[in-house]
């Protein structure tokens, strides 16, 4: 295009002090000259401004400049004019880093404590000692979505109003300061090497410029909110807190438990006494702190872990890809952030285009000069003002809004198509099967779950119930509940049965998909005329049952049946075995009027691969249609 000019060019010396241009890729010398001339004016103006008008800042600036002059290049800490960041801002950045570590720690603490460990209290009623689901309760996206689908704000979901208020004050501080999933992305965006090997290079600067794909999250928000209006809380699949609980609680923690368990098993099997004791002590410590006393398994959780891995890996190419492109909670807060009273003011005239602000920009919100700051994208991480060596970026209350863009440029047609897509979710998924005759006979919902349609209006797939379940009974459904029911809780009795006196899943459910029930409500109380909550009914497969078809005594199922009187009763029988000997056996039967579907019988059946007694969802209290018996159907209840 242009022929290279011979180097060196004598008069290039005049742009020496303007280091910022050196950051740029070498471009055509002619353009460089032009740029040098263009920038030379503002630079001198800046100096004049600094000295003549703003005395304190000017002194700092002059000091910086003289410092730079005294020691050119060597030992120089700040680029450009080297104006140090305000102490207030440096402090805020430190506070932000502290807050991120604190809230990530708090989140992880609450997550590992989302379980029942027992206590010395001897108390007969077991509840969570504190709100382990607190992050979800403060989540305005969850509150808004479930409000649109159910027209109610369930119990403590009003906490999210606090987060809305915080956003109205300070913008998306949740994303930059609080969100544990955001902090993970922040950390991995810093840790994972950028292509090209540098974390400060030009490619990182390019990756951190505002890009059109950042609008995807707003379109997704439209999809999910319209789907919620139609009656599906499917947006929970994309909620960052839900993803963090699901991914870490069902994927990462069991994986850590598995790895440490296997590793220490090997150490234990060495038969070296000291090593064994060390391994035992380590296991005891882990079990007492972060891990559970036994290995937990979650149905098809590799998909959950894999997606978590991918979205974390994406930070390698685009830092905080999740937060910028996909996060519907970020989009919700972005819409509110437009009205925030705290924000950025830019003095474009002082910008030297050094792009240092872009190197560590989290939100890709255009902090640099020459363009408008995107308030809806900014995570308020304060990195840009800390990095700015000139006097361009200023965060303050009631900033001038001349160089601020508060709302995303959404394409009207794309928004309309998103809305249509959201509206199409329900008819598409719910005509694929029918809820009333059930997708799958073993879609057993947790005790206290509301009827399936209401359930899908409320369940945000946050996996709190699965994490808290003491018996590893609750699992993320894969396609058992249809595609719409992805990762909603399903009880798999063969892995774990529903502990009769346990009501913890309803305790931690933030949206009321599983209601907060009491032990009396769950188990029933004849004195108070309370019917127990049934989640299904057990059935016998006589061909596989030992007393029924193999002349072998067993009835472990009857032993474990927790109801009183037992739903499993036995019929005494003398049967002949192959040799003609008389064997006395007890043949089990289920009384469907008493069976609550807890699945203890299925869990303990010794026929290992496919048990001789199994539970299906029929007879569940929550359904008016999925019933066997006339008298226990919901129609007869007041």
């Amino acid at each position: 295009m242009s022929e290279p000019l011979p180097q060196p060019i004598p008069w290039m010396g005049i742009v020496g002090p303007i280091r910022a241009l050196d950051e740029r890729e070498p471009i055509e010398p002619l353009r460089t000259m032009a740029a040098a001339e263009a920038v030379a004016g503002p630079v001198s103006a800046t100096a004049a401004d600094a000295v003549a008008i703003v005395a304190p800042a000017g002194a700092a600036s002059a000091g910086g400049a003289s410092h730079a002059a005294a020691k050119p290049k060597v030992g120089k800490k700040r680029a450009g004019s080297g104006i140090p960041a305000r102490k207030m801002i440096v402090g805020l950045k430190l506070a932000r880093q502290f807050a991120q570590a604190f809230f990530l720690g708090l989140f992880l603490f609450l997550l590992v404590r989302t379980e029942f460990r027992g206590s010395f209290s001897g108390s007969q009623t077991i509840r969570m000692p504190y709100r382990v689901e607190a992050f979800l309760l403060a989540d305005p996206f969850v509150a808004l979505m479930t409000f649109l689908s159910t027209h109610h704000v369930y119990l403590a979901l009003w906490w999210s109003v606090g987060l809305v208020a915080l956003t109205l004050l300070f913008g998306r501080v949740f994303c930059g300061w609080i969100c544990p999933f955001g902090t993970l992305h922040h950390f991995f965006g810093w840790l994972l090497p950028n292509p090209g090997g540098s974390t400060t290079g030009g490619r990182r600067v390019e990756a951190n410029r505002t890009k059109p794909y950042q609008n995807i999250k707003y379109y997704l928000l439209v999809v999910f909110l319209i789907a919620a209006v139609c009656g599906s809380a499917i947006g929970g699949l994309f909620d960052p807190i839900c993803i963090a609980v699901r991914g870490i609680g069902l994927g990462v923690l069991p994986a850590i438990s598995y790895v440490t368990g296997r590793g220490l098993d090997h150490v234990s099997s060495t038969n070296v006494h000291a090593l064994q004791r060390g391994a035992d002590a380590t296991r005891d410590f882990l079990v007492a702190t972060a891990l559970q006393p036994r290995q937990f398994f979650f149905h098809q959780t590799w998909v959950i872990s894999g997606l978590l891995f991918l979205v974390i890996l994406a930070n390698r190419w685009i830092p905080r890809f999740w937060c910028r492109a996909l996060c519907p909670l970020g989009a919700t807060l972005g819409v509110i952030a437009k009205h925030a009273v705290f924000g950025m003011e830019k003095d474009h005239s002082k910008c030297t285009d050094c792009n240092l602000c872009l190197v560590h920009c989290q939100g890709a919100d255009s902090p640099q000069g020459g363009v408008k700051w995107r308030q809806d994208e900014c995570h308020m991480c304060m990195n840009c003002e800390t990095a700015c060596p000139e006097d361009v970026i200023k965060f303050r209350f009631m900033p001038g809004r001349r160089s601020t863009q508060g709302a995303p440029d959404l394409d009207k047609r794309k928004t309309l198509v998103s809305a249509l897509a959201g509206a199409a979710v329900l008819p598409m998924t719910r005509t694929s099967d029918t809820i009333d005759s059930n997708y799958f006979d073993r879609l057993i919902r947790p005790p206290g779950a509301v009827a399936e349609r209401d359930f899908l209006e409320r369940c945000i797939r946050c996996a709190e119930c699965m994490k808290v379940c003491p018996n590893n009974a609750l699992h993320p459904a894969f396609l058992e509940g249809g595609i719409e029911g992805l990762w909603t809780p399903v009880l798999i009795p063969r892995i774990g049965y529903c502990e009769p006196s346990c009501v913890l899943c309803g305790q931690v459910c933030p949206t009321g998909a599983i209601q907060k029930i009491t032990e009396d409500q769950k188990l029933g109380n004849p004195q108070r005329h309370i019917e127990p909550i049934r989640i299904g009914t057990a059935f016998y497969d006589h061909g596989r049952c030992l007393p029924w078809s193999m002349a072998t005594p067993c009835i472990v199922c009857e032993e474990f049946c927790p109801t009183s009187p037992k739903a499993i009763y036995v019929e005494e029988a003398d049967v002949r075995d192959r040799e003609g000997r008389v064997v006395h056996v007890q043949r089990p039967h289920v009384d469907p009027r008493l069976c609550i579907g807890c699945g203890a019988c299925e869990k303990v059946c010794p026929v290992q691969d496919r048990p001789a007694v199994y539970v299906t969802s029929v007879g569940e209290s929550r359904s008016r249609t999925n019933v066997i018996l006339l008298e226990t159907s919901n129609y007869n209840r007041s």
Partner: protein, 367 residues
Amino acid sequence: MSDPKPSRREWIVRTAKAVGVLAGSAAVARLAYERGGWNVARAGGRREVRDFRRHDHGAASDFAVAHAEDGATTPTQLAQRAVAAIGGMSRFVSRGDRVVIKPNIGWDRTPMQAANTNPEMVAAVVRMALDAGAREVIVTDASCNDPARCFQRSRIWAAAYRAGANVVLPAEHRFRTMRLRGEVLDEWPVYRTLIEADRVINMPVAKHHNLARYTAAMKNWYGVLGGRRNRLHQNIDVSVADLATFMRPTVTIVDAWRVLLRNGPQGGNVDDTRRMNTVIATTDQVAADAYGCTLIDQRPENLPYLRMAQERGIGTMDWHTLRPREVAIDAHGVAETWALVVPTGDDPVEAARAVRRAFAHSQSDTA
């Protein structure tokens, strides 16, 4: 042009490396060589035994039963009386011993439902063991229901902890696969916490069992096993006998303060239980069950595992041969201890019943 020829030195080094790699692979292959196929080792050899008994044959009594009128005493006192009658805890626990107490904490049931050992009685035995000089007292069990829930709601956790015990909840890594070499039980995960001790105190609760009819002392050792215990029920009597062969406790203290008479072993209904205010303390777990089954109107002959255990020499069904003692506490709290003599030729079951009828005739709070 060709490359220069390798020097002699280089040639030797390269050849030596090649030979070394070959020899190393061959050595590893030889060491790790596996023929494959099914060559599972067969069960056999001597049965595995964990014997925690104290072999002191000169004791005055090896079997005591204590019972009381309703309201006359507490589980704590009753347990103390029963243990005192067979020589006191110092007969079983020495200074510096690491003592493991194995109550039944199998079910998520409250003390009133009598599916687990009485918590006060567990605490009483913890204190007795500590008073006798035990270095550490551990209370543990491998529960059927969620352990944390069983330990908490049975109140054993709270009671034993306050009494000074170290309450250990079962965790997967505390089980290690062992070969028990029993008749039906061979390779099973065994709960190490229970067997890594100087003294083991068996503290079952007496209760009805739908399959085995009556279970307490011997069946309590189901808590030693991990893995899928549900298979044991296909041959429950031999399984129980195998476990009792493996575990020989120092002393067995059977809680019959409140006894589950129906719908055992889990129960769940207080109406199925009855206050019996009774404790059995003995060095012989077979005798404990032979006597205990009469509490729920069973006869020892109907419990095949007792006969098997006796044939194996684990203990005796004839509890009256163990110089038994009886402690009765009347309505005023006055305790009386005497030797319990069954006249030769009398049915011991009937004799036991007669004795109980004579002294504990006030079971009036039953349903």
